[in-house]
């Protein structure tokens, strides 16, 4: 990654008493795919609008390629934006839509024609040049919106939930397409979504937001395997969270005592986690091994026993819902790939659960 392409410092935005965006800092590198992820109202769309210049911040700075554009108009920034419902101009044909940004840049007629065809070929729709947006399917409109954005090679492309209106199959297909275009062009992309799976598949880095601030910024693996807070652990993928107290720490490993008595090992990536600290023990469902009866002592992480209360086959994964024998604990979930010849479980039977230290994470809070 080379020099930073987009630099945000101390940017904040309030609407009356409501803090849409607490002061945040963010650096996006040239050619990076950064996703702003978060629940609705977390400030991700506000941040995107501030970058695009569609809203004005109360304080802070936005720099694009080193130039301060904080209060500049959208048309003065070297950006492109793909809107949620595509925002194709209904009174212009596909070709007119795609040539619009080139006309704004006073590109001559011949170069415009060539570039438009190139962009349409990139999204595999050159045959639709003469159509109107309303004559296209949702997926096709999405591709045209992409083409309209790429045709003038802005240095940053902003995407506001661009796949939100598409059905699952089409969405998966478009994710691949956007990834391919990103690779081919090497443009910086800032992508907004509330779909954690989409964020995981597409991003170089994810900026997970909550209540107007950044909850955690890092690679998808960082966020998934080393969540810094319960919010992050909960938002990305399913997780079991057990109350526990730290009893000892050596390097990245801690010894903790889970509520109810069991002593187990876990990883701790946060320096504040030391002796006596109350933590949450995070265990991902697919990392739990399932045993008939109590598990043997050869497992280095920890063990629990629990009663099976429900079984759900969700397609590729089978989920077991269990109630630990320790009272006041939330139900546990264990998951494994569905297979037809696998063993059968019965509701009400007691099962043993175990895990590896590397898969258990202690989170402050």
């Amino acid at each position: 990654m080379s020099a930073s392409n987009l630099q945000i410092t101390g940017l904040c935005k309030r609407y009356g008493d409501f803090v849409a965006l607490a002061p945040i800092d963010l650096d996006v590198a040239q050619g990076e795919f950064l996703t702003l992820l978060g629940p609705s109202g977390s400030g991700k769309t506000t941040l995107l609008s501030l970058i695009a210049g569609l809203a004005q911040p109360d304080d802070g700075q936005v720099r694009i390629n080193g130039v301060d554009v904080t209060y500049g108009a959208p048309y003065e920034r070297d950006i492109g934006m793909v809107f949620q419902n595509y925002a194709l101009f209904p009174h212009m044909t596909v070709a007119e839509n795609v040539s619009f940004p080139l006309q704004m840049r006073k590109t001559d007629a011949k170069a415009t024609r060539d570039k438009v065809m190139q962009a349409l070929e990139m999204v595999h729709l050159p045959h639709l040049a003469g159509r109107y947006p309303r004559e296209l399917s949702g997926g096709q409109q999405q591709r045209i919106a992409l083409a309209r954005c790429m045709v003038y090679r802005p240095s940053i492309i902003l995407m506001d939930e661009p796949l939100g209106a598409l059905d699952k199959k089409l969405r998966d297909q478009m994710q691949l397409e956007i990834k391919r275009i990103h690779r081919d062009l090497g443009t910086t992309i800032v992508y907004v979504t509330h779909d954690q799976e989409e964020a995981m598949t597409m991003s170089d880095r994810i900026c997970l937001m909550n209540a107007g601030s950044i909850a955690q910024l890092g690679t998808p693996a960082d966020l998934y395997f080393r969540p810094k807070s319960v919010f992050v652990a909960d938002f990305l993928g399913e997780s079991n969270l057990l109350d526990a107290v730290v009893t000892g720490r050596t390097g990245d490993q801690v010894q903790i005592s889970v509520q109810g008595g069991a002593n187990v090992h876990a990883m701790a990536y946060d320096a504040v986690i030391r002796d006596g600290k109350t933590v949450k023990l995070m265990l991902r469902p697919q990392n739990l091994q399932i045993h008939d009866g109590p598990p043997d002592g050869s497992i280095n992480g920890g063990t629990l026993s629990a009663k099976l209360t429900d079984i759900m086959v969700t397609g590729s994964m089978t989920k077991l819902y269990l109630q630990s024998h320790i009272s006041d604990t939330p139900p546990l979930v264990a998951a494994f790939p569905t297979n037809r010849l696998g063993r059968q479980y019965e509701i009400g039977q007691t099962l043993g659960l175990s895990w590896l230290t590397a898969d258990a994470v202690a989170i402050a809070g």
Binding site: Y71, Y75, M81, P101, Q103, M104
Partner: protein
């Protein structure tokens, strides 16, 4: 379900208007074209037609031009602020043409506000004669019809996706270019619809030209009144009506060719798409819009740049312009209030002291009191009858799966399309034959014909928003059709029903044209009484009546708005 409305329209619209048109080519000796020969024999009537067209075109032009920024600003605001601005437009829209025109008579008079202010400032030393000329008519007509233009354009502008201008800005377009190349073309169907509504209304107007115009501003509807009331020449009135109707239909035809009538029924422009003009006209339009965009941007660039830009579509200039326009729209009626409490009788500005004498005169006058009572009764009757006839028709048009819905809707909307004057004369002729002149029942029938299309349109809009699955849910829980209607459908629709009732009531309460002929000599309606007074002499009593009407309308709008909000929150 639609039988009542069809019967009503056949008896009260098709038959009377048909009769009138027939009279124009038929006299005691059979078929004749003598009336038409007379119409075109001298240039008198052709000149009147040309003046009518000229007044209508200028009115349309200025109404759309001034209405556009208002509609643009209102469509861009948040709900709360939108309602606040919209109130002023609605207040003007619903305030009687009579009240507003009378206000201009007072404003522009020799001792009126404008002359007094100009004299006071020493700009002039003799009062100007501002009344009874072409400009006075245009000012009055634009003032009367601008709210209609705003509301029609607004319905299209509200459907324009607000992200499109943002998208254009991110793609590199400057504000002027964003407006002319993206927003303006998308708002054109609204402009066209607004222009059509204003033009068609203007061409059938007689109140403003009669009160504010001179001899040279006589319009075609005034000719019809003369023929019916003074000359008693039905055949010639019929011939003029045919001419007027032909012009209106021609305008609709041109509109349909160029824009498409379906955009009138609230269909968004995007869903239908622009009618494809020729390749060259498209190119030409593009060049013009590009030039306008560049020119606007060049002008904007002349102004110093502010560090913080205003939010979208809310530039200070626009807000100031809109506020000035709204003041123009509302101020005349408000000026009636101090004048109505004046102790002097000249309606001169400034008022000379406080007195309630003019209000007492209204209360003491049996003429005014009877007119008020009658208007109330006829209004309520019209409201009820229109609901009874219009609601089933709306149900059928929205829910029913029959063929020819479009034709049916066009038929129901005919009373709006056909100039009111033609209906009024036809109904007068019909009532004269069956002895219904002067009866309240006749007036209710006449008013229902013109009110029922509004009820149908309002109810159709309400029904389209109604989730029919709620009915199915009630059925599934064992409710029979009547119980479903009573316990589920009507309670949810009640606000919509109430507002269409108010619409019909207000239409009747403000109706002058039909009442002009058919309300009979002794007991009149309020607008007719107003008209008789105002054409005889201009007295502060009228200012007092105007103030009452104005307050009444403001309360009605407030109540309707409350009802609408309640239906939204429930």
């Amino acid at each position: 379900m639609s039988a009542p409305i069809i019967v009503l329209l056949l008896v009260m619209l098709v038959y009377p208007v048909g009769q009138l048109l027939l009279l124009s080519v038929h006299n005691s000796s059979g078929f004749t074209l003598v009336e038409y020969k007379r119409l075109f024999a001298s240039s008198v009537y052709v000149d009147v037609l040309l003046i009518t067209l000229k007044v209508s075109l200028w009115t349309t032009f200025f109404s759309v031009l001034t209405g556009y920024p208002i509609a643009y600003l209102i469509s861009s605001l948040t709900r709360e602020r939108k309602n606040r601005l919209l109130f002023w437009v609605l207040l003007s829209f619903w305030t009687s043409f009579l009240v507003r025109t009378f206000a201009w008579v007072v404003l522009l008079g020799r001792n009126g506000v404008i002359n007094q202010v100009l004299l006071g400032l020493g700009i002039i030393d003799r009062p100007l004669s501002l009344l009874y000329n072409f400009s006075a008519v245009i000012v009055g007509m634009v003032h009367a019809l601008m709210p209609l233009a705003v509301l029609t354009m607004l319905s299209v502008m509200e459907n324009i996706d607000r992200r499109l201008p943002s998208a254009a800005a991110t793609l590199g377009a400057r504000p002027g270019t964003v407006f002319w190349k993206v927003y303006f073309p998308l708002s054109l169907p609204g402009v066209a619809a607004g222009a059509l509504m204003v033009f068609v209304t203007a061409i059938g107007f007689f109140i403003t030209p009669t009160l504010l115009g001179g001899r040279h501003q006589t319009m075609i509807t005034q000719l019809i009144i003369d023929q019916v009331m003074q000359a008693l020449n039905w055949g010639f009135a019929g011939a003029i009506s045919v001419l007027l109707l032909a012009v209106v239909l021609l305008v609709f035809l041109i509109y349909d060719r160029m824009v498409g009538l379906s955009t009138m029924a609230g269909g968004s422009s995007a869903a239908r798409g622009p009618k494809q003009g020729g390749r060259w006209s498209r190119k030409l339009g593009d060049v013009i819009l590009t030039t306008l965009g560049n020119a606007t941007d060049a002008v904007i660039a002349l102004f110093p740049k502010r560090r913080k830009r205003a939010a979208n579509g809310e530039s200070l200039t626009l807000r100031v312009v809109v506020i000035l326009l709204l003041v123009f729209l509302s101020a005349p009626a408000f000026l009636m209030i101090p004048l109505s409490f004046d102790s002097a009788s000249g309606l001169a500005w400034p008022p000379h002291g406080f007195s309630l004498q003019w209000y007492r005169q209204i209360v003491d006058s049996p003429l005014w009191m009877q007119a008020i009572t009658r208007s109330m009764l006829v209004g309520i009757g019209t409201g009820i009858l229109s609901m009874l006839i219009g609601t089933p028709a709306a149900f059928l048009l929205v829910r029913g799966g029959m063929k020819g819905k479009a034709a049916m809707l066009a038929f129901i909307l005919a009373p709006i399309v056909v100039p009111r004057m033609i209906i009024a004369v036809g109904v007068f002729y019909f009532f004269a034959k069956i002895g219904l002149i002067g009866s309240s029942f006749g007036l209710v029938l006449g008013h229902t014909v013109v009110a029922v299309p509004y009820v149908v349109i309002t109810m159709m809009a309400v029904l389209r928003n109604y989730d029919t699955r709620l009915d199915l849910a009630a059925h599934s829980m064992g409710a029979r059709p009547w119980a479903t209607l009573r316990r589920v459908t009507f309670p949810i629709l009640s606000a919509g029903l109430m507002s269409s009732f108010l619409f019909a009531f207000a239409t009747s309460f403000d109706e002058l044209t039909i009442a002009l002929f058919s309300s009979g000599g002794l007991s009149t309606t309020l607008p007719k009484q107003f008209w008789d007074e105002i054409t005889m002499q201009i007295s502060p009593v009228i200012a007092a009546v105007s103030t009452c009407l104005f307050a009444f309308i403001a309360v009605l709008i407030w109540v309707a708005d409350r009802l609408r909000r309640r239906s939204l929150t429930s």
